[in-house]
């Protein structure tokens, strides 16, 4: 239960970090360490070079600009949890973070670390999928942006090349009429969800759903945005009948089984949590209207 030997690097800038990443064989980037450190302790991960990003201060920031929220990859989950800027521009992110690990892990854990670890049940991964976040990637060769949908390529696998790192992400949060909810089921508070569902609704003047986004995670290798369900919600009143129809469709999504949870149970949770997320989002819209 001790990490295998490695050479430690602690770059002070992104330029220095990507240079190391390009030059060193079998190198891993260390963000908050809340996933990589256990993997190294178990020796699931045995990098020859560990590039610690904790001194790269330019990777840690939260900015609201032009109807979008840009967050540096090394921004700690704790800082997002308590940020006024996030509370105003993307409260859903804080609702999701309430389910992420524990105080001690959020104190160290980072946004980018969670997204690059890409656990399919991770709450932050779910939110990135819901917004189809723009992932800003850098390497010594230059910079590129890709939508989250192209970033998650497989089970715990991202589209990052060996010499690339995630520098920041952008969430489009401009629509002020949005209402949201995050619902999940986990066996213990702080555990990765078995299934989670996040919802973002925009209501029109008639009180109908104008736009709907849903992200379901935990069903398969990456979160799913069920386009057909989102489409079908448009133009409907946010009532139990509408939610029930959407939830029934969510149960038909593909789900995997593992040693602990059957596919049927995951599908059941998809139905229940889709209903709950929509119900909570609609209730929040009503609440906000009365404020």
């Amino acid at each position: 239960m001790k990490p295998a030997p490695f050479t430690y690097h602690d770059p002070r800038s992104v330029t220095e970090a990507v240079t190391l990443l390009a030059e060193k064989e079998n190198a891993r980037l260390l963000a908050g360490g809340q996933s990589l450190m256990p993997m190294m302790n178990f020796r699931y991960a045995m990098p020859d070079h560990l590039i610690d990003l904790n001194h790269v201060s330019e990777l840690s920031y939260i900015r609201a600009e032009n109807g979008a929220l840009k967050i540096g990859a090394m921004t700690r989950q704790r800082d997002i949890e308590f940020s006024e800027v996030i509370r105003e521009n993307c409260p859903l992110l804080q609702a999701a973070l309430a389910h992420v690990g524990h105080r001690q892990t959020r104190n160290r854990g980072t946004l980018g670390g969670s997204l690059c670890h890409q656990d399919p049940s991770a709450e932050l991964v779910n939110v990135a999928a819901l917004f189809n976040a723009t992932m800003h990637v850098v390497s010594q060769r230059g910079a590129r942006d890709l939508p989250y949908a192209d970033f998650a390529v497989g089970y715990m696998t991202t589209a990052l090349e060996a010499d690339e790192m995630l520098a920041s992400i952008t969430l489009k949060t401009s629509n002020k009429t949005n209402t949201y909810a995050f619902a999940e089921f986990a066996r213990r508070h702080g555990d990765f969800a078995i299934v989670a569902c996040s919802a973002l609704l925009t209501m029109n003047a008639r009180g109908e759903i104008a736009e709907a986004s849903l992200a379901l995670s935990g069903l398969s290798h990456a979160p799913v945005r069920p386009a057909a369900i989102e489409q079908a919600l448009r133009g409907h009143k946010p009532d139990p009948e509408t939610f029930k129809a959407a939830a029934a469709e969510a149960e038909k999504l593909e789900a995997n089984a593992d040693a602990y949870v059957t596919a049927a149970y995951r599908k059941h949770l998809a139905r229940v949590l889709t209903y709950r997320a929509l119900e909570q989002a609609a209730a929040r819209a009503v609440e906000n209207a009365h404020v």
Partner: protein, 167 residues
């Protein structure tokens, strides 16, 4: 050849200079190099919370940090809580644990105490539910948590009284 670094670290008010293997975790450094064995090692993968210490005032899992990452940092362990020499007088939180049967075997206690030290500093008047959530990252297999929650609430009350008295 093992990779080593020079490390300067202030633990419980004392600055230590050492050369450490870069792969050494903070908890192993505290226990094996500084012989501060109050911090316990449980699961070594960030689940049990027994190794919780404060780094720059915030609670972290000492098994998920490398000692080398604490270069220049201030660290507080459970040994910092009792006041005075030689054995020290239990502080309000520790005394509350004793009074409310907040421990049996005591293995998880150092982590519980450090988590609560940060939590009660930031939330001097917590509800029972808030205490339970704050403790969700610390596992105890003896007490069933009731005594620990009682101790945390009693300590919070006592600390608030002390603040009022000093006014």
């Amino acid at each position: 050849m093992s990779d080593t670094r020079k490390l300067s670290i202030t633990v419980n008010g004392t600055t230590h200079n050492a050369t450490v293997e870069t792969r050494m975790t903070l908890v192993d450094f505290l226990r094996h190099e500084l012989l501060l064995t109050g911090t316990h090692v449980g699961c070594e993968h960030g689940v049990c919370g027994a190794c919780t210490v404060l780094v720059k005032g915030v609670s972290v899992r000492a098994c998920l940090m490398l000692a080398v990452q604490c270069h220049g940092a201030t660290v507080h362990t459970v040994e910092s809580l009792a006041q005075g020499e030689p054995q020290g007088k239990l502080n309000v939180l520790q005394q509350a644990f004793q009074d409310h049967h907040g421990l049996q075997c005591g293995f998880c206690t150092p982590g519980m105490l450090m988590t609560l030290t940060e939590f009660l500093r930031d939330h001097p008047d917590p509800s029972e539910a808030e205490v339970r959530e704050a403790l969700s990252g610390n596992l105890c297999r003896c007490t069933g948590y009731q005594g620990i929650v009682d101790a945390a609430l009693a300590a919070a009350r006592k600390m608030r009284e002390e603040v009022d008295e000093s006014k």
